[in-house]
């Protein structure tokens, strides 16, 4: 990408917002106010032990406390100071706005309501890493319990909760794994923007998400989430108090994703540098925008599903209770209208990262930029028309199984386009086999397997046999973990120098890569076999006939776990003591590599003007 203006840095005046309240608020004050709000709400609504409708009232008190914790935390950290000051006609001063952007505050800004998109990106990175580590730890325990028949390691009740918590923790983490850190830190710089379109909303999206984490963790102390992450009604209506944690988490998370999605979309539409026409927008930006734009209509249905679940539990409204005219199918529809697009919300940014990486490490232009756009758009468009393939055997309108099978199988066409773009880009090239590039090859393999097995599952007769089996579990792990997560890790290796100023430790990166990728194949190929033989998912105890495949899967899981621990070490160690990175270690042409580290507060002192596409490798420019 060619720019007419080079970047330079200049010193800024140190902000002095005097004794404004915003200087005194931080994560600590947020926690204090949040806890006060939560306890006040709980004690206001808590039922007497012998109260009639005890369970309804208990749900009301707990759910109310969880939601008020979030509101209280946001008040305590100062999220609403800006709007409040605007409402009373005393808008924030320029110095206060600069203070909110974290200028000159060092590490403290990461614990404040900071509007700088780079701070928000790092907050997302740390948050996502923590969630993945916790969710991964739970996966290790699940696999340990499944190592031998009989489920002797962990009891059935705890196993059920582990499966549910692992699922929802990983889904939440994976939805934000790429658009959170890279969409916030890298994307605005990539398009030549000085910040996001709505910096305060950007900070809000992170801190709202942050408040969902303790709510989710509270499930451990309230009896767990025994329904799996799908939380199907009527199980979720009848479940114990831990279910409130699930509902609270989704309600809060949906607000966060809506805010983040609108902000990213608005930023890409309105904040691109001069000369950055749509056909000059880096492909990661396109993929990330498609992803969040897809989430904007999809997630509110899940939010609605949870609101109705909550009212069924608190007010006996009966949306999902067949006894009073409700329907469990209604929940299934609302859930999967979100649930299947959500797969692509997770997948698209991961693929887009790899398309960003491929031209850089092969030194060739991206093969058919337009085909990539069509692939992303085709997937995004079709993904909202396929949800009922999750309900083939539910008995809902069997005559529509055929049409849903067709729309589902049609998704393989735009997915094939994305494959074509990646293959075409590396075709006859001489790849510079650095860590990000290894990720590309791994994802192409994993996505191939995930995609092909998905075709079997979209097929009605085959799904009648495979539905609810470990085959399904292996399939979606190949797409979500093997493709999306591996893509995000490749993105981390690629943008680590820009985000931290240091190079990621390569030997540790390679060790981690081979451990995770080999372990991954062992783990999930074993699971495919067990599933094809009939082993049901989410069941703690399995028949002796599955013992070898499960033992192999568990061995693979330990390899994956070891690989990720090594990666975590590499990230922490490199961030602290890694080799100082040059400004553009990969010789890439996108704008983020034109700015120094640390990236200046407003990214560019002079707005860049774009005169060419970002993938002009081998064209002499």
């Amino acid at each position: 990408m060619t720019t007419l203006h080079s970047t330079s840095t200049h010193s800024r005046p140190i902000p002095n917002p005097a004794k404004s309240l915003i200087t005194k608020l931080n994560m600590g004050t947020g926690v204090v106010v949040g806890v006060i709000f939560a306890f006040a709400t709980y004690f206001a609504f808590r039922p007497a032990a012998d109260a009639s409708g005890f369970y309804n009232q208990q749900n009301k008190a707990l759910l109310g406390a969880m939601l008020m914790w979030s509101v209280g935390f946001l008040i305590g950290i100062g999220a609403f100071i800006g709007p409040f000051r605007w409402l009373i006609g005393k808008d924030l001063t320029a110095e206060e706005q600069l203070y909110l952007a974290g200028d000159g505050q060092g590490i403290k800004r990461y614990f404040k309501y900071c509007t700088d998109h780079k701070v928000v990106g790092i907050q997302y990175l740390v948050g996502v890493t923590t969630m993945l580590a916790v969710g991964g730890g739970m996966a290790m325990m699940i696999r340990t319990s499944l190592a031998v028949p009989g489920g002797h390691f962990i009891g059935a009740t705890i196993y059920n909760s582990l499966v549910g918590l692992h699922g929802i923790t990983m889904i939440v983490a994976m939805i934000i794994v790429a658009t959170g850190p890279f969409g916030n830190y890298i994307m605005p710089i990539m398009i030549g923007a000085r910040d996001m379109a709505f910096p305060r909303l950007n900070a809000l999206s992170w801190w709202v998400l942050f408040t969902a984490i303790p709510v989710l963790c509270s499930a451990w102390f309230l009896g767990g989430i025994p329904t799996g992450w799908t939380a199907y009604a009527p199980l979720s209506i009848q479940a114990g108090p831990g279910m409130n944690s699930f509902i609270g988490t989704i309600l809060i998370f949906a607000v966060s994703t809506a805010v983040a999605g609108m902000n990213i979309t608005a930023t890409v539409i309105a904040m691109r540098a001069k000369g950055m026409k749509w056909n000059r927008v880096p492909i990661f930006v396109i993929g990330a925008t498609m992803s969040v734009a897809l989430a904007i209509p999809a997630f509110p249905t899940f939010m609605l599903a949870m609101v109705q679940t909550a009212t069924d539990r608190v007010f006996n409204t009966g949306f999902y209770d067949a006894n009073v005219g409700g329907s469990g199918w209604l929940y299934a529809h609302l859930f999967w209208i979100m649930g299947h697009p959500e797969v692509y919300v997770i997948l698209l940014p991961g693929i887009a990262i790899l398309m960003e990486i491929a031209p850089v490490f092969v030194r060739k232009p991206l093969f058919s930029y337009n085909a990539a756009i069509m692939g992303f758009a085709g997937i995004a468009g079709l993904s909202v028309l396929v949800w009922a393939h999750h309900m083939y055997i539910s008995g809902w309108t069997p005559t529509l199984n055929g049409p849903f099978m067709v729309t589902t199988e049609m998704i393989s066409v735009p997915t094939g386009l994305l494959f074509l773009v990646m293959l075409g880009t590396i075709w006859r090239g001489k790849p510079w086999m650095k860590l990000p590039m290894l990720g590309l090859f791994a994802v192409m393999w994993n996505l191939l397997i995930g995609g092909i097995t998905g075709i079997y599952l979209s097929d009605v007769p085959a799904d009648n046999y495979l539905h609810g089996s470990m085959f399904v579990t292996a399939h979606f792990h190949y797409t979500l973990m093997g493709a999306a997560l591996t893509g995000a890790v490749a993105g981390l290796a690629y943008w680590f120098p820009k985000m931290t100023g240091r190079m990621l430790n390569e030997p540790a990166g390679y060790i981690s890569f081979w451990f995770t990728q080999i372990g991954f194949q062992v783990l999930f190929l074993g699971m495919f076999i067990a599933g094809a033989e009939g082993q049901p998912r989410r069941v703690v105890s399995f028949a002796a006939m599955y013992k070898y495949t499960n033992m192999i899967s568990t061995a693979g899981a330990y390899l994956v776990g070891t690989g990720f621990i090594v990666l975590l070490w590499a990230v922490i160690h490199s961030w602290r003591k890694g080799v100082i990175a040059p400004q553009n270690p990969w010789g890439a042409k996108t704008l983020e590599w034109t700015v120094p580290y640390p990236v200046p507060l407003e990214n560019f002192d002079e707005a860049p003007i774009i005169t060419s596409d970002p993938y002009g490798y081998g064209k002499g420019n």
Binding site: G137, Q238, A239, N505, A508, M545, L568, H573
Partner: protein, 243 residues
């Protein structure tokens, strides 16, 4: 310079290894904590073996026996000398884990103290898998109960496995109405407690792991009465080890 690089590399390697060990330790510690929490809440109850034998269908079996109670709450359990589980739920005692000898004629006695409503599935009102297809209720042999007359069931079955003998026993326990008097077969009949005494026998196969549970939904309001006692291990469900 080489020495510095070498020392630095060694430090990196050691720190990476320590990190991996710490990571494994953290996950392992949490896992074993959950494992401990999942452990049987009570010590196993071993069946009392007898020197007597019994011949059934021309084959001789050694005899063994075990006694259980099913209590509506902790107070009733304490009244009958059983230290109940943590929660004040309906529960079997003195243990949810029975150890029975293999290839043995086992006689079980269950003292039942609870009321009830109606079974979801009338099938579990039938006596299945016992010697003669019957059970003895307060001295009377019966082969089934009406679905509205069952307080709990003791239903023993196998976990999915092709490597152990099948074993299925279902015994419904009659509801205790006001004035009902159960008796202890070895003591004074009819005067001992408000409840019923149910006795039945079955023959165990080879060694294996089995589970038992109650098929009458007797939990609290959650999960359509399948919550609380019904979903917490060790109250209305447990395991049977045939050894």
């Amino acid at each position: 310079m080489e020495t510095t690089t070498s020392t630095s590399s060694s430090k990196r390697l050691i720190s990476a290894l320590v990190f991996v060990v710490l990571g494994v330790a953290v996950v392992g510690t949490v896992g074993f904590t959950l494992h401990t929490l999942s452990a049987d809440p009570q010590k196993p109850l071993y069946a009392t073996k007898s020197s007597e034998t019994i011949v059934i269908d021309g084959k001789s079996y050694p005899k063994a026996s075990a006694v259980l109670g099913v209590y509506p709450d902790k107070e009733t359990a304490a009244k009958h000398g059983y230290t109940a589980n943590k929660h004040d739920y309906v529960q079997y005692g003195p243990s949810s884990h029975l150890v029975l000898p293999a290839h043995t004629y086992v006689t079980m006695t269950i003292h039942a103290y609870d009321g009830g409503e109606e079974l979801n599935n009338p099938y579990f009102g039938k006596v299945v898998g016992t010697i003669g297809g019957t059970m003895n209720v307060d001295g009377v042999d019966v082969n089934s109960l009406p679905s509205t007359g069952v307080q709990h069931t003791w239903t023993l079955h196998g976990i999915p496995s092709s490597s152990q003998d099948p074993l299925f026993v279902n015994v419904p326990l009659p509801i205790v109405e006001e004035g009902d008097k159960g008796f202890l077969p070895t003591q004074d009949p009819g005067t001992n407690f408000e409840g019923h005494t149910v006795t039945f026998s079955f023959i165990t196969g080879g060694a294996g792991d089995y589970v038992w549970n109650c098929e009458y939904p007797c939990g609290d309001g959650s999960y359509a009465k399948f919550g609380a006692a019904m979903s917490a291990y060790g109250y209305m469900s447990g395991k049977v080890t045939v050894a």
